[in-house]
Symmetry: C2
Subunit: 706 residues, 2 copies
């Protein structure tokens, strides 16, 4: 056996982390501006850390409880006479998954809250330098996530493999079963970061706007607003840590699901007969290298350069290189001759084709998302138009745009499933997802760049820097809005493909060979599953409302009880607002989180794996639809509102900020806020988490309900 291959993956992870460390150090070395800027940045950084600490406190209770449960489950050797190949060490895998994901989030937040003010300072000299600082900040986040994920998964694989060497034929099965704990840990953090963070960011945003802009009449990002720091913290909590944890979870889960399906392929190869299992890890490891290369292409010449183009070139570069490299990896790793996975027989070149399919699906989903939410395109223009007849028609327009935006992504996804399955069976579906996720480091670098630029603009505004600085940060921020949209498209696509891969892996693990919705109870499961994204969305939306109300009360109290805030003679108590957002968001995410974690366990143990499979299919279909619908409706409303900033032509008349149509567009934007930043993205976590929980319990419910 060519043992060195299994060390390749963690080694590539370490490489990513080393590059990350250099980049992080470079960011820290940059000038962080004058005293005001430093102080604002410190407030934001402190707030972000305060959120993380509060989150970790609740999280640690959750982690301990889950570890007890997993440790116990690891001692079970058979249920209903069926042998189970697990081990109590799954609880340690879970812990490491949670810690690694939390660490990645910590690194991302840390560098983002450093890069923001340094971007502002850099923007005093040039756009080129401002892009360099903000994008390098994003790169640190991307490499941190990808590096830790690959290191963790690859490292644990080596450790568990040698640990279970004595189990003979069950060695690999047990290793992979225990590795599902790592994925569960990672996705649990994503639940807290993405859902809790999503509630946080919108509660702070809405709370700050309602009292600040509407009641007190002060502009956005004004230091006199007690909630303004919480608002800026929210950008980091939701868009940096939340998005990072989301993709960390997808990344790990797709690799794992492909490994689960890979173990079903019986091969003779030079790599311990494990090549189908090793393939997704190696490709994702190499994806880190090509992401690093891709980031080198993200640079501009001068003030007039197109920032969006620079990002696009880097992105396409890393995607094309990864796909090209995976051709050679497939040729090298996989054996010649037919491979058989369940009913499908295919060759190694078919596996490559599946990877290509996955990459194309991801690209189309991103492009469609951008089209439906971009300023100047037909969907947003139609909402602008409908704002002229009032609040209601603006809302109707946005809802219709959101619903319509599901068509192409779903056809793409459906086509992608069929095509990748056609090439390489269920293994093909999973490796397609892995291929798409391989450039996660690059995707996240672009994603995290947005909120850093957004924060930089906020700091420029709050410290009253000259207009050309704000102009440069606005330029970056505008690009950041586009990348936020495409990033969301990528995140939904990744969640959908990940869930499908997990769904396929679940069926294998649960020892069933079909999920027949012609059976009444499986159909019942499908219905109930389809309903869960609706109640989950409703709970998230209401959570934002409740948390925002608490924030409103606090801001009103401070204006009332602290004299001199409005006259700049007293400083507001920023940290109290941060604390309220933090506590409210964590409290409000418990119920939806409990639904996501417990429903699969309940259904699985009462009705067995086939009904649970029906439930998962329902959750995934409905969750992807509701995710696309809500995210895109929200994004479109947002940009419809933004369109009024430069003025828009409706029926031959120009309308600007402050006009009646603009007011209607603000209503849409406010409705869209929880849609696009809380309930919409939380669908990703919901569908993945329920699938992973099902995968973890799969061996234990294998004999139930037959």
């Amino acid at each position: 056996m060519n043992d060195y291959v299994i060390y390749l993956t963690p080694a590539l992870g370490v490489l990513g982390l080393v590059v990350m460390a250099f980049k992080s150090a470079w960011v820290s070395k940059q000038d962080d501006g004058d005293e005001t800027m430093k102080e604002l940045a410190r407030h934001i950084a402190d707030g972000a850390m305060a959120f993380l600490k509060a989150e970790w406190k609740v999280l640690s209770i959750f982690v301990v409880l889950t570890m007890i449960f997993l440790t116990y489950s690891g001692t079970i050797t058979s249920i209903n006479g069926k042998e189970i190949h697990s081990h109590w060490i799954i609880s340690i895998a879970f812990l490491i998954g949670a810690v690694f994901s939390a660490t990645a989030g910590y690194i991302g937040m840390k560098v983002a809250t450093k890069a923001n003010v340094r971007t502002t300072q850099a923007a005093r000299s040039s756009l080129k330098q401002a892009l360099k600082v903000s994008f390098t900040g994003g790169t640190v986040m991307g490499l941190g996530v990808a590096g830790l994920a690959v290191l963790g998964l690859g490292g644990l694989f080596i450790i568990f493999l040698s640990m279970f060497a004595g189990l003979g034929v069950h060695q690999i099965k047990t290793t992979i079963e225990v590795l599902t704990g790592f994925s569960l840990g990672a996705e649990s953090i994503a639940l807290f970061s993405r859902v809790g963070g999503g509630i946080y960011t919108k509660a702070a945003d809405v709370g700050a706007d309602l009292v600040g802009k509407v009641e007190a009449g002060i502009p956005e990002d004004d230091v006199r607003n007690p909630a303004t720091i919480a608002d800026n913290v929210g950008d980091n909590v939701g868009d940096v840590a939340g998005m990072g944890a989301d993709l960390f979870g997808s990344y790990v889960a797709t690799i794992l699901a492909t490994m689960v399906l890979g173990q079903e392929i019986v091969v003779k190869d030079a790599f311990g007969n494990m090549s189908p299992i090793l393939l997704p890890m190696v490709i994702c490891g190499l994806g880190i290298v090509f992401s690093i290369i891709g980031t080198m292409f993200v640079r501009i010449k001068d003030e007039k350069s197109n920032v969006q183009n620079a990002l696009n070139i880097g992105n396409w570069m890393s995607m094309i290189l990864t796909v090209a490299a995976s051709y050679f990896v497939v040729q090298w790793l996989l054996p010649d001759g037919p491979l058989t996975s369940r009913a499908s027989t295919f060759t190694k070149i078919d596996v490559f084709y599946s990877i290509v399919v996955g990459t194309i699906v991801g690209a189309i989903m991103s492009i469609v998302t951008e089209y439906f939410t971009a300023m100047g395109k037909k969907p947003v223009l139609s909402i602008v138009q409908q704002s002229s007849t009032g609040h209601a028609t603006n809302i109707i327009g946005g809802l219709a745009v959101g619903m319509k935006s599901t068509v192409i992504p779903i056809l793409t996804l459906g086509g992608g499933i069929m095509a990748s399955y056609y090439f390489a069976g269920l293994y093909g579906v999973a490796i397609a997802a892995a291929g798409m996720m391989a450039t996660t480091a690059m995707q996240l670098a672009i994603d995290a760049f947005g909120p850093i630029a957004d924060n930089a603009g906020g700091i420029a505004e709050m410290s009253k820097l000259p207009p050309e600085v704000r102009e440069r940060t606005d330029n970056l921020d505008a690009v950041g809005n586009t990348t936020a949209a495409t990033g969301k498209g990528f995140a939904i696509a990744s969640a959908a493909l990940t869930s499908l891969a997990l769904f396929a892996a679940f069926v294998g693990m649960a020892g069933i060979d079909r999920i027949d919705i012609y059976k009444a109870n499986v159909l019942g499961g499908l219905f109930v599953g389809g309903m869960i994204p609706f109640i989950f969305s409703a709970l998230c939306i209401q959570a934002v409302g409740k948390a925002a109300m608490e924030m409103v009360e606090e801001v009103r109290r401070q204006f009332r009880e602290i004299p001199g805030i409005m006259e700049h003679t007293a400083e507001p108590e920023y940290e109290k607002c941060v604390a309220i957002s933090t506590n409210a968001s964590i409290k409000q995410m418990l119920l939806p989180g409990a639904i996501a974690l417990n429903v699969p366990v309940l259904i699985g143990f009462v009705f067995g794996p086939e009904v649970l499979g029906g439930l998962l299919a329902g959750v995934t279909v409905s969750g992807v639809l509701m995710g696309i619908f809500q995210s895109n409706a929200g994004g479109a409303w947002d940009n419809a509102k933004k369109s009024f900033e430069k003025g828009v032509m409706i029926n031959g008349e120009m309308y600007y900020k402050g006009s009646e149509p603009h007011k209607a567009s603000v209503t849409g934007d406010t409705v869209g806020d929880p849609f696009k930043d809380t309930s919409g993205p939380s669908m990703n976590i919901l569908i993945k988490l329920m699938s992973i929980v099902s995968l973890v319990i799969a061996p234990f419910i294998a004999g139930i309900g037959k």
Copy 2:
């Protein structure tokens, strides 16, 4: 063979129609008031007929095209070497289904447009008399629909059975296959009436309000508004004819689906070995009798009596009697000993239990719908509360209520599927639906009473009758709003159960024995199916917007070009507005209609029955969810707005019409209008129509995609 049983069903249908004729004559005999009232009523009646005529014109083209296609398909005797048992006469069954449904709609509209003005006149003397007239009007509609459905289905069954007597073992199979044409015809009319009618009613409503109330500042139901007649016509088109055609379709389809599954049960009995096939027809026939008995209990003593209670008593009466009777029918018709349907074995008492399950599911769905949309209950109160912080929070509140309202209905539906299957297999699921639908005549009587009362109020307002008249019609109208909500719940439940029954029947007809969503292409079908309700809803919502805009233009034109309208010296051109609503609604429903009709054919012939089954499951789950979500959100917004009419207490302060929170609630109501009256109810048609089309093509695609 006890031949008389097969004549029982059409005989009960005739009985229903005879009673209907008497009631209809009684309504016609009532006083229709003074000249103004007569003229207004004539305008509304003429407008309604104008809509029907325009609709029928387009419809006839559609019917002829479909008949050509069906006639051709009836000549095919085998595909891919598989025998097909159909006959060109299916096109005649289709034609009769369409004509019967259209006739039922015609009768309903005719009597509703007579009963409205007579109710107004009766309200001049007493509430008791007003209820009697309006409810008798509704009863005519209910008996017309149920009578024609049962007569048509039962009559054609006899004719086809004797026609195919020479086919030996294929006699029953061919008879039932040909009967699917009747169901397809009925549901096609429902597409035009419910979707086209839904677009019509909201386009007229929104158009009338936007120019009349907002721009010209005249009250609702003011004769000076050119669109006011169209608005009142809309109530009849959407709520009477649309709802009637919807339930006509459900009623026929559930009976038919139960017959399809009944034919799979091999029995020896005294009824030509057809008892499982005859059972649903007999129960639904008897349901007509008990509906007639139930209507006799709908009466009040004096002005202070509770109208809602009277309706409830009648409704419960007919439901309980029908369930009790079905116990004896099951005992009498079905043979003793075990019955076997596919994998399930059960006895006749189990079949009765399934019927009970169906009735309970229908009742729970109605109750939940009422809870989520009723004034004074928590969901609506929460929206009222959220109206105090503006338009956006009102919208967010309504969306969250709509999403949350899916939980109990879906759990009920899921539980109902499992329970009825547990008792009597797939036949149990279908007969549960038939049991629930048996009292359709009573349900429709209650449903149609609402818009008649609504119209009566409008006529009272337009003819400036004394306030006590308006008070009485308002009393009826308020009850009508509640029955509209419960009726919608019943319609969704019936559509869902009907689709499930059709789904089960489809699998049998298509010659497959499973729908395995673990297969990638079936899963792809599930995804695409789930998306269709989203695009269908978006198209319906946008259709309302476009049609309303055309209406706005026309009303503006009339105010501009016809001098004297505002001074009551010139009459507006009502019929032009009616024509605009009519044409726009029919034009706008073509694309969604084409999707519903063609997608199953396309998917079925390209990918085969299993993928089509996945598609149908996706459409049904997603369609039921979107139907409940949109209908209930719309209903809740409506009543949140209505709450302000009597004044509401928010945070210790009273708010009335004209206050800022009230304005926010008007926004929600306007968004909710297309939700609750167009896109929401259209989901019923979508899921049923796609299932019926699939059932009709099932024999032809049986061999594809294996």
